[in-house]
Symmetry: C2
Subunit: 418 residues, 2 copies
């Protein structure tokens, strides 16, 4: 053990950053590890996927965020192993010992064993995946404009989004608007254009009979209504069995010819946790006590999507507010352990939830308040702008949004890569 | 031949776009082909490479630029072959016949047969290459911060730029400022930071004894002075023989341990032209007559970097003004041929040249006017902002620059990809 105890935090998401901040005045050494050099503002990932924002608009360098924190040491590295007994991490760049460990490694896409979907579909958890989706969407239109075969053209222009949670709803709404408000102008004036954007379809597949299951029923209905009005085909009771890159096959046998499938139907805890030797609950989440310690290793804390803890008999949702509130408690419990004070137990304070369905349309549930339509959308805007890390990002995102709103545009319609 | 004659333009760079615009009122079908769906504002590529701008800030969808042009048809495709006899193009997406052809395919990096440099170094002609350079620069700092071996650390932090033309000068200046004004803050406050940014080196290698060879001598001197003041090691008479990814070997035998080599020492015409059967001059450029027609195929025009034409006994430089002026003449000569009017011959009007060396520093030559320092830098800013395609891009770039200028920041410090 060094002079100051070492607290290692793995993951610079909402939980990891909050934990690092909470430890800023303590006489300890804090090492924050992430495989990326930036914090990603995940709630706006679908805007990168639909050409509304640039990757840099929703990501901010970790070093810039934590610049003033003198006890913090950031390392960009992948964690390749955890030796709980020796209290050491194996990193892609070497080894690292810890006295206390906070695992805030987040979640990853869960394809529930559907290998063809994992291979041919697109997840939407990382900046790279969002950029790939943007490239794919735009490329399908470019190919369709040169495709004489009408059936092939329709398959190129069919976009299937799987999962009626917030990500799926936001993504389907944004794709529909991208097509009907923006691309329709790009493909309108050219002579001999083979493509008529009326051929384009956006299909939202949901296995159950409701969208945004965590929302009150009235808002669920409003969400479906709004999506239909934006020409999204909302299909309930539709579970995907297979996607070969050419057609989506549903469990009932129905076939939808489509080249693009975006999978927003499942998340699990990061696979990194699987080999560690910590007891895991549903979706690979590590079981923690109300103090956020793991039962057998009181020096190891797990927070956020990576942690399994129940609230009113239900596992806590994998959302940013849970991660941030847990990170706060975990960090303070480490300080409590060091000071030999009693530990705090975690209790979740649900701030409510928000989802946007596009231009002027959103749903919001805040305690007993239920909002929809324009007021919910304005609230969504304000909340997300305020939360975006970094004043510049906020300003640029706001300008982008204002421009898109006024001119029915999406500025990042470039196909990158080869 | 269709009812309207078909003019095919290959390349949506400065030349191709200008040609398409010049044909907008003609009763012809114009087909513009590019392998990307965007026009790239190449003069600012080095700003993407040095984390100052996002890719979307300097690229704009071709369809959006040419939206109002009713006789234009855009196809995103790669040209895989040209059948001059049959007047047909082979594309990655099919075939296409033409009555008149304008090849505005631009240039590509020329490694002059240095295979190890081509394999391990970075070119800087495409958005992908610029993004790769950004990722590389930032990653070297992250690795250096975790590298205990001092020699390895210095190699990680040595950035070699090859070529003293505008691209090399701008790039070296921008990297030096990125390190000394921005990254120095990111790596300052962390405890136990292994890395001291004073170890970082930026080396500019130039094989001859002058920078910006096209500029007047007084401005060449001023450029070298400014680079030195920004801590760029300017090395004259230094030609690269080999780069294995670990060390740069010069022709004289000198070895510079470095992980990063940016090659800005040569450009040639796009390799696509090599197999076509058109007579090529120096650097693979296709020999054209003053009408910009190829000698054996009067229906085929070549403009810009792709064209070989002499002016005062010298080949015309590979710069945007040449491409735009030639495109104008080529387009009008097609209209002249259709109307059986005499053809125009090309004469170059040199608008002067500009290069920026960083904050408050640039050099400009406009006819007999020679500017340097702050006035040249302001002129550079104004010219580039005005030229940037698309009002939104201009606005966002201006905000980015203003922010960076005031706060000594670079907003796009994210390492993307895997």
């Amino acid at each position: 053990m060094s002079v100051h105890p070492t607290v290692v935090i793995v993951g610079a998401g909402f939980g990891g950053l909050r934990a690092a901040r909470a430890l800023r005045h303590a006489p300890i050494k804090v090492v924050l590890i992430d495989q990326h050099n930036y914090h990603l503002f995940q709630p706006l990932l679908y805007q990168v996927a639909t050409a509304g924002l640039s990757p840099a608009d929703i990501s901010h360098p970790v070093r810039a965020i934590l610049r003033g924190q003198a006890n913090l040491h950031f390392r960009m590295a992948q964690v390749t192993g955890v030796d709980l007994a020796a209290r050491r991490l194996q990193l892609s760049t070497g080894e690292l010992g810890y006295d206390y460990l906070i695992l805030a490694v987040g979640g990853q896409t869960n394809f529930f064993g559907l290998e063809s979907v994992a291979r041919n579909g697109f997840g939407m958890k990382t900046l790279e995946e969002a950029t790939q989706i943007r490239n794919q969407l735009l490329q399908m239109f470019e190919l369709a404009a040169q495709e004489p075969d009408a059936d092939l053209r329709r398959a190129l222009l069919t976009f299937v989004v799987v999962g009626g949670g917030p990500t799926g709803v936001e993504c389907a709404g944004a794709i529909a608007e991208l097509i009907r408000l923006v691309l329709v102008k790009d493909y309108a004036s050219n002579v001999n254009a083979a493509v008529n954007l009326k051929e384009a379809r956006v299909v939202l597949l949901e296995a159950t009979d409701k969208l945004l299951a965590a929302m009150p029923e009235s808002l669920q209905e409003a969400t479906a209504e709004t999506l239909w009005r934006k020409h999204v085909e909302v299909r309930f009771g539709a579970a995907v069995a297979d996607f070969d890159g050419r057609k989506v096959t549903l469990k009932g046998g129905e076939v939808i010819p489509a080249r693009t499938l975006i999978w927003a139907a499942g998340v699990r805890a990061a696979a990194l946790l699987d080999g560690v030797g910590l007891k895991q609950g549903r979706l690979g989440r590590v079981v923690v006590q109300p103090t956020l310690q793991t039962p057998d290793h009181p020096e190891v804390f797990v927070v956020g999507d990576a942690a399994y803890l129940e609230h009113d008999g239900q596992p806590l949702p994998m959302v940013a507010p849970v991660a941030m509130q847990q990170a706060e408690v975990a960090a303070h419990n480490i300080l409590n352990l060091l000071a030999q004070r009693p530990l705090r137990t975690f209790e979740y304070h649900d701030p409510g939830s928000l989802a946007t369905i596009g231009r002027n349309a959103a749903v919001a549930q805040l305690g007993r308040w239920h909002l929809r339509g324009f007021p919910a959308w304005v609230m969504w805007l304000v909340v997300h702008i305020l939360q975006l890390i970094g004043f510049r990002n906020r300003l640029l995102v706001l300008i982008n949004w204002a421009w898109d709103y006024i001119f029915y545009d999406r500025g990042v319609r470039i196909i990158s890569g080869k």
